[in-house]
């Protein structure tokens, strides 16, 4: 498994966010994307998902362009952006069930309930999502991580709106995924301690790109 970005360039309006950006990520690696507001973190993540087409450069998965792989690449991918994709008119379980089925993971209701329990929403399954708090909604969308079969997780500010307990839980979920051979790319100011695997840091601030590799935390 390998994700490669080659000479990416992205612009927003007439402002260049970054150019000549290259990096690669392999199994059991976690990439932390750093940079100030407006430095293009979200745009880069969306480009890596195939939602945004970079002006220049290409993104390769296993050596093949993600544009060509299309559905095959999306099967390997889990993306969580700023929006939770939670429908207020559906119950917690209905929301979770729809989103997991949509991602191609056929999971039983028992497994989903178990995931909800783990994420701290035990007995909430028949609750209408409109009555959840921001943090609880975030938890519902993060519960998908527990049942997802995707190898590559791309998470945009996953720790936002979570309380301390949930932050710790998410840290451990991410660490477990990386330690089991998965790949994670995320933007956050929160550290994710790993016992195995590798942490890469990519900074987009001020147009400069630093790639720093840290082993173990």
């Amino acid at each position: 498994m390998k994700l490669e970005a080659k000479n990416l360039q992205c612009t927003r309006g007439d402002r260049e966010l970054f150019s000549d950006l290259s990096f690669s990520l392999e199994k059991s690696q976690l990439m932390m994307l750093e940079g100030q507001n407006g430095s293009g973190k979200t745009t880069l993540l969306r480009a890596l998902c195939g939602l945004y087409e970079p002006d220049e450069g290409e993104i390769l998965w296993q050596g093949k362009s993600i544009k060509k792989l299309d559905e095959a690449y999306r099967r390997e991918l889990f993306y969580l952006g700023h929006l939770n994709a939670i429908k207020p008119d559906l119950t917690v379980l209905e929301n979770l069930r729809f989103n997991t089925l949509l991602a191609g993971d056929s999971v039983t209701d028992e497994a989903l309930m178990q995931a909800l329990g783990t994420i701290g929403l035990f007995a909430f399954e028949d609750f209408p999502a409109s009555q959840l708090s921001q943090g609880q909604k975030r938890r519902v969308s993060l519960a998908r991580l527990l049942v997802s079969k995707a190898n590559l997780w791309i998470l945009d500010e996953p720790f936002v709106a979570l309380d301390i307990a949930a932050v710790e839980l998410l840290q451990s979920i991410i660490a477990k995924h990386v330690e089991e051979g998965g790949m994670v790319i995320l933007t956050t100011h929160q550290e994710v301690p790993l016992t195995r695997g590798k942490i890469k840091r990519l900074s987009l601030s001020g147009g400069s790109i630093k790639e720093q590799v840290g082993v173990n935390a």
């Binding site: 993306y79 952006g81 929006l83």
Partner: protein, 223 residues
């Protein structure tokens, strides 16, 4: 592929079921437009029969564009559309499911209530049947053409008016043949088959091309 279709269709219908008022607003809009015309144009029997085919279609076009704004906007706002675009499924298939759900919720009710229009406008019963038939073929085409416009104007300020401006000219052929069929049905001894063939051909073309164009437009709007 089929499972994604059913998944999206079922969810959209479930959502609408939980918010039933939205179905009725479009339906009542249609009825209000239908009832205003005779008061503006005149209530003579001959006038009513003459304007009925056009009025039904204009009301259907307006009701259809009014409903379009909701087709993708709530999914866009809460991030579901993003997840649809990232799902390992064909986006066109899911878009088609959304169109079908949209038609079942906003188009089909118009077809079912249209006999009332026949009563308001003194139409012969034979023409009422024809009207229901052409609406049944024609309103899905409106939903499918309109979906392209809805996808292009996603999330724009004043998108509702803009989408009407974009799609209403494209509705013209459906309206011409749809109202033509109703008008012809009121004359003796004329065959309606050509009208149904033309409308049927439009429907087939729309089913093939509209989901592709809409999916492409959605990806552009999501960037």
């Amino acid at each position: 592929m089929l499972s994604a279709f059913w998944l999206v269709l079922k969810r959209d219908l479930l959502l609408a079921l939980r918010r039933r008022s939205e179905i009725f607003t479009v339906l009542f809009f249609f009825l209000v437009v239908i009832s205003l015309f005779p008061l503006g144009v005149g209530t003579e029997d001959k006038t009513l029969k003459q304007i009925a085919p056009g009025v039904v279609w204009i009301a259907a076009l307006l009701a259809s564009t009014l409903a379009l704004e909701r087709l993708f906007s709530s999914d866009y706002v809460d991030g579901t559309l993003e997840q649809l675009a990232l799902a390992p499924q064909s986006m066109s298939v899911m878009v088609l499911a959304k169109m079908v759900a949209h038609w079942l919720l906003t188009g089909l009710p118009l077809v079912l209530i249209s006999p009332l229009v026949g009563l308001f406008y003194h139409l012969p019963s034979h023409s009422i049947g024809v009207m229901m038939m052409v609406l049944l073929i024609g309103t899905p085409i409106l939903s499918m053409i309109g979906a392209i416009g809805a996808a292009l104007t996603l999330g724009l300020r004043g998108g509702g008016v803009l989408v009407s401006l974009l799609v209403l000219p494209f509705y013209l052929p459906v309206m011409v043949y749809g109202s033509g069929a109703i008008a012809t049905s009121m004359q003796q001894g004329l065959s309606l088959q050509p009208y149904f063939m033309v409308l049927g051909a439009f429907a087939l073309l729309a089913i093939v091309f509209s989901p592709l164009a809409t999916a492409a437009a959605l990806r552009i709007s999501l960037e």
